[in-house]
Symmetry: C2
Subunit: 256 residues, 2 copies
């Protein structure tokens, strides 16, 4: 059986250009050339190609493959063993890198959270007031409640804010886990987490059923909150708000 470049390419899954290239560098020469300069391969070349592809899969360079294929079995074991140790080193290195990345992600998240803290600490008072205006305009908070919440918060120091945010951070992570485990927003586990969220909000003001749902709507409406939650998981915002709604309807009363 004799194969042209295209046939061999289809049989082996490599591109025609690759066959040209392997010919060029002397890694795999055709069985013979026709008068038309066409390359013609036979079984022997097919088998050699399989070998080449096997080593290529293992990440061995073409130069090394050349050497290996002309070597004896003994040396092949050697070559594989040394290649193996390179691979193992790579793996170890890359596992280190993954760890570093994880740390960095944590660090960046921390920074983002710190920014939010700064925002809440008044560096971005404007936005804060914007959020309150939203809740006030929609009738979820009275002016008195807003004043009350400011009073409570005014004397918080940096540590207070940091631990508040750490709580929020833990809560968000737990919710992401819930999302990944396909827990429904109605599930007991998730509703317990929402209870925590509600408790956190209560430190500022005690929302009614309506206004707790309204708070959720604000999370969806404001890009700042979206970004904050997207940072954990793209569906977290919707998920949290849906769960808040269910919580409100089951646990909260209309007034007060």
């Amino acid at each position: 059986m004799v194969y042209t470049v295209k046939k061999l390419s289809q049989l082996s899954g490599v591109s025609i250009r690759t066959l040209h290239f392997y010919d060029e560098i002397g890694l795999l020469k055709p069985a013979y050339y026709g008068d038309n300069q066409y390359r013609y391969y036979e079984e022997e070349q097919l088998l050699a190609l399989q070998q080449i592809l096997f080593f290529r899969e293992l990440g061995v360079s073409l130069k090394e493959i050349q050497e290996v294929l002309t070597a004896e079995s003994f040396d092949r074991v050697d070559a594989l063993a040394s290649h193996r140790s390179i691979l193992v080193q790579n793996i170890e290195r890359q596992m280190m890198l993954v760890k570093t990345i994880d740390k960095t992600i944590e660090y960046l998240r921390g920074n983002i959270i710190m920014k939010d803290i700064e925002m809440y600490e008044g560096f971005d008072l404007q936005k804060q007031q914007e959020y309150e205006k939203y809740l006030f305009d929609k009738g979820f908070m009275t002016q008195e409640q807003i004043n009350e919440s400011w009073k409570k918060v005014k004397h918080w120091n940096q540590n207070d804010w940091a631990s508040f945010y750490q709580e929020g951070d833990a809560l968000n992570k737990a919710l992401v886990t819930a999302i990944k485990n396909n827990y429904t927003t109605e599930s007991k586990e998730v509703q317990q987490l929402i209870q925590q969220h509600y408790e956190m909000v209560k430190r500022f003001w005690t929302p009614t059923k309506e206004s707790y749902i309204g708070l959720g709507e604000m999370y969806l409406a404001h890009a700042d909150f979206r970004k904050y939650y997207d940072n954990y998981h793209p569906e977290l915002a919707e998920y949290l708000v849906a769960a808040m709604k269910i919580f409100a309807e089951k646990q909260l009363s209309d007034y007060r």
Copy 2:
């Protein structure tokens, strides 16, 4: 503080050429150019370079680094996370490859052993006789012993040979472990392994103290044996022979 290429290169550990290159692709431009076209960098560039090197360490491409560095914290987390998943995939893939290599090494060793079996089965009678001639010439075996050993072996079938070689294989691996653990050739553990070796040899012929030592010498003298043992570990041959000598001197008598 202002740095020239050389200064910055020394501070950061990258080559001057790399700085030229980063300038060329717009990844890191100097603070300004002198009238002489010299590049002058300042603190800001030094810090930027640190960042670049950090991401480069993580295996991020320069193009991606460009994008990441001009992006916001949110997107950096994204970029790192997606890079992380690529890394994890790589790691998984490479662990697969290591497994494949291990299998292949086992397979190649098997082939080598099979070749030896074929050799012993008479495909390479010539070599077999060469070894015997060596032992005979040195006076370690008599002609009668050679005949005896041939008689014993003649009716062995492929299975017999295969299991004989598997035993040998296990023994060699155990010895390699001993080498790696720095066991001395005199140690109890190693001497027990040599006992096994001696038992194996006895299936052909019962060597005396002298001839068992002579057998070891033959292992060192013949390239075929060297290759066979080197296949396991470069020091295995010497180690085995040394241990055989000790075994012979302690356990074997001079005649019969």
